[in-house]
Amino acid sequence: MTTDASIEQTAARIQWGRLLRTSGTLIGFLAIIVFFTINIPNTFLTVANWLNISQQVSMLAVIAFTMTIVMVMGDFDLSVGSMASLAGIIAALLFRDSQPVIVGVLVALGVGLLGGLFNGVLVSYVGIMPFVATLGTLTMFSGLAFLLSGGETIFGRDIPADFSGFARGGIPVGMVGERTLLFPNLTLIALIVLAVVWALLEQTTFGRRLYAIGGNAEAALLGGVRVRLLRLIAFMLTGFGAALGGLMYASRVASANPTQGAGLMLDAIAAVFLGMTMSEEGEPHVLGTLIGVLILGVLDNGLTQMRVDSYVREILIGAIIVAAVTSSSLAKRGR
């Protein structure tokens, strides 16, 4: 390639401009942390609180990380929330039938893959828009969860201690006074999912091809990418993540209810969008999604500690999402 000195100089200048444009969300995140550190001086910036936050967001994180996979292709999966509920219900029903924990978990995860396969077939082989297809399956999965559970919450003795104990457990990392500080199992799972999704999207040919599909599906097809197959696989992975997130939720609350995952879908999409503001081309990246998840989690934690009304909390969180996306698109318009 031909290069000359003047191009090198401007290239350096552009790197700076790029950094400013893409780091607005990160700066906002740091500002939120500083704000809570000042206003909640004793408890906010402590290891215990941050481990607590990490556990609180772990379910959302898993679903948002795997949601990133389909959003890289420019698709959506609206069915993740009801899939999370369904997975919890299926595992709990198997537990009630005195099946071993491992069987319940594996079957629930299998249902996640199957649901994802169904979404993938609709989107990629039948050719229905993801928004419409997954809106349909959202309702189907949710109906199925109600049907199987009879609309009731499964809890108490039906949920084995092995299963509910997992969410309460963790790896000891130190002592705070009398209490042992645990690195929560759920956080660990979220980190593993993060690592896997990151490697998949950023380090493999699979991820590169998904980004190509998201950039220009027609060009990807003519450039030798198996667009249909890859879309199918991506939806399966998102379905799997949704089921995993649902199981984590069920473990944490030691019960399963046909609506408990419902709120996760919008938060997951919001987290991916927040992350997208951090990329120059507006592409989703899983590390950006991580920041998005943390912003939502930290806001929730901090505002709760400041005893802000939960309705006001929702308004604030929504406003912050809108502000992040607005400022990033304004910054990009200026170039």
């Binding site: 390639m1 031909t2 040919t205 950039g215 060009a219 003519l222």
Partner: protein
């Protein structure tokens, strides 16, 4: 220069996407003047125009209208200052009528304060259309039902609508004739001459040299973001302009064949038919360049799509190196050594949001990654740099985003992709469309080099000179049917065009 320029630009500078797009550019438009602006893609013409349109904020620029210094922060200001822009791809609103489209940027005439006065709107529209000699277009027709060429004329006419304001002074036309028939071009030129008489100034951007000599009074040439020369039209010549644009001599436009044809047959096609083409059959020898010629819609693009497996075969046979390829898909085609450069590089070829590297290696990832799975960015970048250099790609480096490149350089990325692993068969669809003179020559040289490596080349082009200059044989398609294969040598453009129209067939 005696008269005060209607529009003058001094010291215009813009750094854009890593490349200095504009360096200390200057331009004067005199009243009653048609001023041609020429230069290769990426020379800075578009940037200069976008600055005038208020779409791009310059790093610095001194702009004056009739001697008054102005700044143009947004398109509305440009409009209010009386600057009118005519782009080749100006959007129309197909659901609205011709009259509504004409008056889109103006207040519609009203009745009773808030009702649109349709009669007056249609009358004003008719007046404008009449003035421009395009009275055959009914202002009440829906835009969707107006032909493409006429849509273009309507778009052009919309710039002439004055509304309540004073007559606009400066028209800036960016390749206005790209989609026009010669008859429509004549009409447009009539309009431009009328504008001249009224004392308006026209900045006219075009790649077409003949047009420039027909309509322009003065011509300014840009290269690499700088103005390299400005001259009265009768004091310059095509050769001079080309030299200024490219910075080098173009001794011959088409590099000649230097290696003899191989006897080995790379590609054999027998009785091929898809939904769009039929009765196609030919043998392609190693190193041969086969042209595809035909009128718009004759099936050249569709034949290439069939060869690359993008459209399913109804029947027929494609043999590569003697082996039948029955279930060809783009994936297996690339694996077998087919390389494909589609017609529309932006919509069908490139992932604009990704880097040069990602675009070049996309079809070759399986081969260049560890175990076909783990990305090996170092080898990818090495490969991209090497093939990038071989196609004379101008860029910051392999990680630059393709969106930031000029049209010619984007096309070179497509070529770099096709050439990353020496293909067996190179399928090219309009490889030089929208590409400037210098890049065109680079691309011709590349095609010749590839064919010298015993690669079979199939080249579809609507540029007859290009087909005659490069190809060994030319396959003629008419309404999806193969009608002839002729040797290119000794054929004139006129004869080739006659074959495309189908007056009198002629066989090899």
């Amino acid at each position: 220069m005696s008269a005060t320029p209607l529009l003058s630009v001094r010291h215009a500078e813009k750094h854009f996407g890593g490349t200095p797009a504009l360096v200390d550019a200057a331009l004067d438009l005199l009243p009653g003047e048609v001023h041609a602006l020429m230069g290769e893609n990426g020379a800075g013409k578009s940037t200069l125009i976008k600055i005038l349109a208020g779409v791009v904020n310059p790093d610095r620029a001194e702009i004056a209208l009739s001697g008054q210094a102005v700044s143009i922060p947004n398109p509305q200001t440009a409009f209010d200052l009386g600057l009118r822009f005519i782009h080749q791809e100006l959007a129309v609103v197909p659901q609205l009528s011709v009259a509504e489209n004409l008056f889109l940027s103006h207040a519609y005439p009203r009745r009773a304060g808030f009702l649109v006065d349709w009669r007056r709107l249609n009358q004003s529209a008719k007046t404008v259309l009449d003035q421009l000699g395009i009275a055959h277009i009914d202002p009440r027709t829906r835009m969707a039902r107006v032909g493409t060429g006429d849509q273009m004329l309507v778009k052009i006419a919309s710039a002439f609508v004055t509304g309540d304001r004073q007559t606009p002074a400066v028209y800036i036309m960016d390749e206005p004739t790209a989609a026009l028939t010669s008859e429509e071009v004549t009409r447009l030129f009539g309009v431009i001459r009328e504008l001249k008489l009224q004392g308006c100034a026209v900045l006219y951007v075009s790649h077409r040299l003949e047009e420039i000599f027909q309509i322009a009074d003065r011509v300014t040439v840009m290269r690499d973001g700088c103005v390299v020369g400005s001259a009265l039209i009768n004091e310059t010549s095509s050769e001079k302009l080309i030299r200024q644009m490219t910075g080098r001599e173009l001794s011959q436009t088409f590099p000649a064949r230097e290696t003899p044809l191989d006897s080995h047959i790379v590609l054999a096609v027998r009785n091929l038919a898809t939904e769009y083409v039929c009765e196609v059959g030919f043998d392609l020898r190693a190193g041969e360049i086969l042209g595809l010629a035909g009128l718009a819609g004759a099936g050249c693009t569709e034949l290439l799509r069939a060869l690359v497996g993008a459209d399913p075969l109804r029947h027929g046979e494609i043999r590569l190196d003697g082996e039948t390829r029955a279930d060809l898909t783009p994936v297996s085609a690339w694996e077998r050594g087919f390389a494909y450069v589609p017609e529309e590089r932006r919509s069908q070829g490139l992932i604009l949001s990704r880097s040069i590297r990602d675009n070049i290696t996309l079809p070759h990832l399986q081969k260049i990654s560890r175990g076909g799975i783990l990305l090996d960015r170092r080898s990818e970048e090495q490969l991209s740099s090497v093939v990038g250099a071989s196609v004379r790609l101008k860029a910051i480096g392999p990680r630059q985003t393709v969106r930031e490149l000029s049209g010619g350089n984007q096309q070179k990325v497509m070529f770099a992709r096709a050439m990353s692993r020496t293909p067996r068969l190179l399928l090219l669809d309009e490889p030089t469309r929208g590409v400037d003179v210098g890049a065109k020559f680079d691309i011709y040289t590349l095609i010749r080099q590839v064919s010298a490596q015993s690669v079979g080349v199939v080249l579809a082009s609507s540029d007859l000179a290009e087909l005659l200059g490069l190809c060994d044989r030319i396959l003629i398609l008419r309404e999806g049917r193969q009608t002839a294969i002729v040797a290119a040598s000794g054929l004139s453009q006129h004869e080739l065009l006659t074959l495309c129209y189908g007056d009198g067939d002629r066989d090899d």
